[in-house]
């Protein structure tokens, strides 16, 4: 019998395990080290590292949480340096370096589907500059003119002599960064636009990928955490003696739940979240032992003023805000007169629940406080902020702090908040010299998160005798959130008489998070659904009615955003045409079969550059349930940097939107979240997933637009239309499965 030793790495080897394994490409080739290569890796212009074996690592300033940025962003630098994909690795940017070098990595928060677009110029420019530096160093080494040299296969030469990148890397690093260097013309691209395989497919198919939860350090202990179950609650006491003899138990500590992690210092609307609530952590030899002891720990909480809050009471507050009238965020024409003159008017109230992101990897962070230093590791969407929060929680300056990003098992906006980093550091601060891995259970993650906010909206519309919408009025009220009326104000239809009001009810207990699709999700679905209600009132097919109102000639001459409004209408028309043709003829509608079609572009403001996505959902209503059959998507995303990753991301957004809309809701009773795990917060499974056909539309654009979120808002509009067209109920409240889905009489 062999005694299996736990696999432990020294602190020195720790980082290479965390980053190196994750970053290794699928097909490691052994390249012999060139004769004059530097013995140590050489960093060039912050963005690449040239290794002694002539492999090149590209620095990635976004978190890899499934969206494929470690493949697709690397393509920018690979293109300019003509890198060989099989000799290219990636590594994360270092937040402390970014701070010291005045935000050299340009865009380090992973949010709003911005990564590919925001880094398009910076990473290509850096690649071109590094290429020029390497070429200049090679010219000097070879004693030839730089203009005579070309770059191929990680080497620079003129046909008669050549040197490898590794041989001249140190010389190149000593040169100043050249300015005014041109990036390649798109006609020269060999890598941008190609469906490169994911660099992480191998490590993630073999269990070798190292996520935050998988980090191991010598002497590491595990912490389980519990916040006040009622929002706003405070810790009175806990009784450690009751658990101190349980297996593996070391300590119990009182901590703060930590700041929101998105804005430090807090802006006005974060103040309630700033110190959040009290929490207790139990430390043990294994996480399971820590969690068992935490479950058994007698804790007394002061529940605070939200102890009687419920979903009903929050919805009543939203209703009161709607009754009171809101901030007018858009007003054109005379909507009240138009409503009086309309042949018929329609009114409806729509409801969207709180939702939680539920990434597969629960919140976790590892921290070590040692003397006057703090070092932390975590899966996060905002490493710069995590660094500041780690320093803040340790009570030291950021100069003494280090933070390392890890692979993330999903994020969807939840990991923009680094509360768990704060928690881990606070525990580690009370156990100096001992690395602490803090993990929140799934139950804790659902009970104490940051949530996509609840929303109620009231609509009133007028239609004339010819089926034209003559008046459009909406008022939406959201639970605590940032100001996000854009989905309501940015309707593409050029209504002559429109009034849009917005209210935010700030004194609701659940803290706010952006979630994949952000405020567009609530608003675009509701706008689309109400437009379809007006279609029914006018006696028209829903798709025909939407298309009939995409009229460039109806855009008012005096609109400040006239050009943008016309361009959007034309784009929506193109995407509708494309998705309708790809979806093909629909089966006979009704009697349980339905198709819904929607188009949306997540445009926040006039001129905003974004993808426009059209989706057709075909489904059946059968045995009182919804059966998804097929989803067809047409994607106008400008330059498609990596088409196979775009396809995966669109499928992912479709499933995220469908799962949330069909199953998802977070509800509150007695101030506590009622859902505790995937048995009460279910995610669509493989057997419920539709066939998905994704079509990337041809584009003349040479700039990419984001594709991570865009499918989420639009698929919900298509889904609720499909339910109606199948003969099911009008869905004005999500989730769909809360409705009686038997066919209308």
């Amino acid at each position: 019998m062999t005694k299996h030793d736990k696999i432990v790495l020294s602190r020195r080897g720790f980082l290479s395990a965390a980053i190196g394994t994750a970053g290794a490409v699928a097909f490691n080739l052994t390249i012999p080290a060139p004769a004059h290569a530097a013995a140590e890796p050489v960093e060039l212009h912050s963005w690449v590292v040239i290794k002694p074996d002539n492999r090149v690592a590209v620095r990635i300033p976004q978190v890899e949480m499934g969206q494929g940025c470690t493949t697709a962003l690397a393509q920018y630098v690979m293109e300019e340096l003509d890198l060989d994909p099989v000799q290219t690795d990636w590594e994360y940017y270092d937040p402390a370096t970014n701070q010291a070098r005045d935000n050299v990595y340009v865009h380090t928060a992973t949010l709003a589907s911005f990564g590919m677009e925001m880094l398009f110029m910076p990473m290509r420019t850096a690649g071109a500059q590094i290429r020029a530096m390497l070429v200049q160093a090679a010219a000097t080494r070879l004693g030839v003119d730089a203009g005579s040299l070309s770059v191929e296969g990680h080497a620079i030469g003129d046909g008669s002599a050549s040197v490898s990148f590794a041989e001249v890397a140190a010389d190149a690093a000593a040169l100043s960064v050249p300015q005014g260097v041109s990036v390649k013309d798109p006609s020269q691209w060999k890598v941008i636009g190609k469906p490169l395989d994911r660099v992480d497919a191998f490590s993630k198919s073999t269990g070798q990928a190292v996520y935050g939860m998988d980090l191991q350090m010598e002497g590491m202990k595990y912490a389980a955490v519990k916040q006040s179950p009622v929002y706003g609650g405070k810790l009175i006491s806990f009784d450690f003696d009751a658990i101190k003899d349980m297996p593996g138990v070391i300590k119990a500590v009182a901590i703060k739940a930590g700041p929101t992690g998105y804005t430090v210092p807090p802006t006005l609307w974060d103040i309630i979240d700033w110190e959040m609530d009290d929490a207790v952590a139990v430390v043990a030899d294994t996480w399971w032992e820590a969690q068992q002891a935490l479950n058994a720990l007698p804790i007394t909480w002061h529940e605070g003023r939200h102890r009687a809050t419920s979903t009903d009471s929050i919805e009543a507050d939203l209703g009161a805000a709607l009754d009171a009238g809101g901030m007018v965020v858009r007003n054109e024409g005379d909507v009240e007169t138009a409503l009086q003159d309309a042949a018929q008017t329609v009114e409806a109230e729509y409801h969207y629940p709180y939702l939680e992101h539920a990434p597969m990897e629960v919140m976790n962070a590892t921290a070590l406080v040692d003397g006057i230093n703090v070092e932390a590791w975590a899966p996060t969407q905002y490493g710069d902020e995590a660094l500041r929060i780690a320093a803040y929680a340790a009570g030291i300056t950021t100069i003494r702090a280090k933070f390392h990003m890890t692979l993330a098992g999903g994020g969807f906006g939840r990991r923009l908040h680094n509360d768990y980093v704060s928690q881990a550091v606070q525990v580690a601060k009370q156990m100096k010299g001992t690395p602490i891995k803090l993990i929140a259970s799934r139950e804790e993650c659902l009970a104490r998160s940051y949530y996509s906010p609840i929303m109620t909206a009231r609509f009133k519309g007028g239609v004339d005798a010819d089926g034209n919408v003559t008046a459009w009025k909406s008022h939406s009220a959201q639970g605590r959130s940032v100001l996000q009326p854009y989905g309501m104000t940015r309707t593409v239809f050029p209504f002559a008489n429109i009034n849009v009001q917005y209210s935010s009810v700030e004194d609701t207990p659940l803290p706010f998070a952006w979630m994949r699709g952000v405020g567009h999700t609530q608003n675009a679905w509701m706008n689309h659904g109400f437009m379809s209600e007006l279609a029914a009132a006018a006696g028209m097919e829903t798709v025909d009615f939407h298309l009939k109102h995409l009229r460039t000639d109806a855009v008012a001459e005096d609109r400040a955003d006239k050009d943008d409004a016309i361009a959007r209408i034309k784009r929506f028309q193109r995407v509708y045409d494309h998705v309708l043709s790809k979806a093909g003829p629909a089966q006979e509608q009704g009697k349980g079969r339905g198709r819904g079609v929607a188009v949306y572009d997540m445009s926040y403001v006039p001129g905003f550059h974004s993808s426009c996505i059209g989706i057709a959902v075909d489904l059946r209503l059968e045995d009182g349930d919804v059966k998804l059959e097929r989803v067809t998507a047409s994607v106008d995303c400008g330059l498609a940097v990596n088409p196979q990753i775009i396809e995966a991301q669109i499928q992912s957004g479709i499933m995220f939107g469908l799962s949330n809309a069909i199953n998802g809701k977070i509800t509150i009773a007695d101030g506590k979240v009622e859902q505790s795990n995937f048995d009460s917060y279910d995610i669509l499974r493989l057997g419920e997933a539709p066939q998905m056909d994704v079509h990337i539309m041809p584009s003349e654009e040479k700039v990419p637009a984001g594709i991570g979120e865009g499918a989420v808002p639009v698929v919900i509009g298509a889904l609720v239309d499909a339910v109606w067209n199948a003969g099911g109920p009008r869905i004005r409240r999500l989730p769909v499965r809360d409705h009686d889905l038997t066919l209308r009489g």
Binding site: K6, A201, P247, L686
Partner: protein, 152 residues
């Protein structure tokens, strides 16, 4: 001390017999390829093979395993040469990838029982949660692996 047979190796684990196999694998043996996602057998990210059967390791106490053979994702082979893993890589199946160890283990167990499953059979057997929605590619990779394995 509890004796376990993990990936063909007999191992002694210093933990109480009611510790779930998942946590013994992760925190006692350092086999972190097996993932925690829920702890209540809902998400199946913790799927391992017990005598060839796909089981959620969060629900199995180490004291109950006895002489049964435990296979984890690491035990399929670190070179990724299993046909299911090859199909996963060539099909670019993983996104965030956190569920994929469990997906791969579930798919391997399915194909050992049923070398050429229909879509309906895949629906019934692969109940793992993927929050990224990789299901289309999972299904395609299972069919591809089945075809490869039948070619031999």
């Amino acid at each position: 001390m509890t004796k376990l047979t993990v990936n063909g190796q007999e191992i002694e684990v210093d933990a109480s017999p009611d510790m779930p196999l998942l946590w013994a694998l992760r925190d006692k043996l350092g086999l972190t390829g097996t993932k925690y996602g829920c702890g209540i057998a809902q998400c199946r990210a913790c799927t391992v093979h017990i005598d060839g059967e796909a089981m959620p390791s969060c629900q199995i106490e180490i004291g109950d395993v006895g002489a049964s053979e435990i296979t984890t994702i690491e035990g399929l082979g670190e070179d990724g040469s299993h046909p299911v893993q090859r199909a996963w890589v060539s099909g670019n199946v993983p996104q965030c990838g956190f569920c994929q160890s469990g997906m791969v283990m579930a798919a391997v167990a399915l194909l050992e029982k049923n070398p050429n499953p229909t879509d309906e059979e895949i629906n019934d057997e692969i109940v793992n949660i993927c929050r990224c929605g990789s299901y289309s590619r999972v299904r395609a990779a299972i069919h591809q692996a089945a075809a490869e394995m039948q070619k031999g």
